[in-house]
Symmetry: C2
Subunit: 209 residues, 2 copies
């Protein structure tokens, strides 16, 4: 494989980025198994064997897609969580970042939902390999005194699934159930309304609703 950090000719760099982009779209739409390298190659406009030049095998391509999408989210979350703002405001900002990021990159919603559901019991899903930094980030917060004083009415797993589940489902799954209608969850209005509701739910779950 050719690592992203290795120096590539401009053309090669474009090819690699195009592969990543099309692979993200197709993995999100059809899953790991359901996506053929043939289709990725065709979408990019190259031959299947050429993908191997950049990514040793299918799994490696998939991991690169996850790393790319999750890396962007992690960066934005760090920006809002690692500030001197009051904790409660940082949490709200993080929730907004979460909703907005998923809204701008809806493929991530499907990728994460797929990873969640595909996980084998006892066997770490590919997602978990990328999730360490997120855990560190949250752990840093939870470890702080400030968090200990927030009256949490309910376990963090419940909070997380309500917030994450609502947004992932809204963006990643609702279009399935309201097909070809005028309903687009990614439209400005619907996403605004969704963000508002998730913020209210967050407040409610944190005990100050």
């Amino acid at each position: 494989m050719v690592a992203a950090t290795v120096e590539l000719t401009p053309k090669a760099h474009r090819t690699r980025a195009a592969i990543l982009q099309e692979a993200e779209r197709l993995f999100a739409a059809h899953g790991f198994r359901g996506t053929r390298l043939e289709d990725v190659a065709q979408a990019v406009g190259i031959r299947r064997a050429s993908i191997v030049y950049y990514f040793a095998d299918k799994r490696e391509l998939y991991d690169a897609v996850l790393a790319d999408a999750l890396g962007g989210l992690l960066q934005r979350l760090r920006e809002v969580l690692l500030t001197p703002e009051p904790l409660r405001e940082r949490v709200d900002s993080a929730v907004s970042v979460w909703v907005d990021y998923i809204g701008e990159r809806p493929t991530l919603a499907r990728l994460v939902l797929r990873e969640s559901v595909d996980a084998e019991p006892g066997e770490a899903p590919a997602l978990l390999a990328h999730i360490g930094p997120f855990v560190e980030l949250v752990r840093g917060l939870v470890g702080s005194e400030a968090v200990a004083r927030v009256p949490v009415a309910i376990g963090p797993a419940h909070i997380a699934s309500a917030i994450a589940g609502a947004t992932l489902f809204f963006v990643g799954a609702m279009p399935t159930f309201v097909p070809d209608l005028e309903f687009d969850p990614l439209s400005r209005d619907h996403l605004d309304a969704h963000r508002r509701e998730v913020l209210r739910i967050t407040a409610r779950l944190l005990g100050d609703g």
Copy 2:
């Protein structure tokens, strides 16, 4: 295929039920593509070709699994929604039935999440073929005068995704992110807490929170 309603010998009936049960478990765990008929057969204790005697092909088996699981949910929802109780109480009962049914049959959470995410744009997912009765049920309610008077602060799509998404994600996906820990979303305590929160979210979304 041998329809469920056709008269079968007791033994054949048991075999058919066993195939359905193992197929539900495996389809939920690995998805349609990821489940091999070989594995279903092995789990039941028969040979792969024998499955064909009951279900013409893999897709037909999958449809039968969906119909079985969703049929049970529909029946319970009808029981609580088609009563003379005040509408607001019926909605709460329906939400409770939803949470409890998924809690008792967590395979359904994964099946529904998979169907939602697998849906091709422009192409009806298998789930939609089974969902007609649910739509009819809700349409009957929404058409009634009583519903028109409920102050709905937000669109039904948002309400549905918040409620459905939270529960599906909690049951179907959380175990992935909190692996091998002492966390079991299906335990009585956690499911009770989750039901409580979803009922609160419902109230909030319906404007009387």
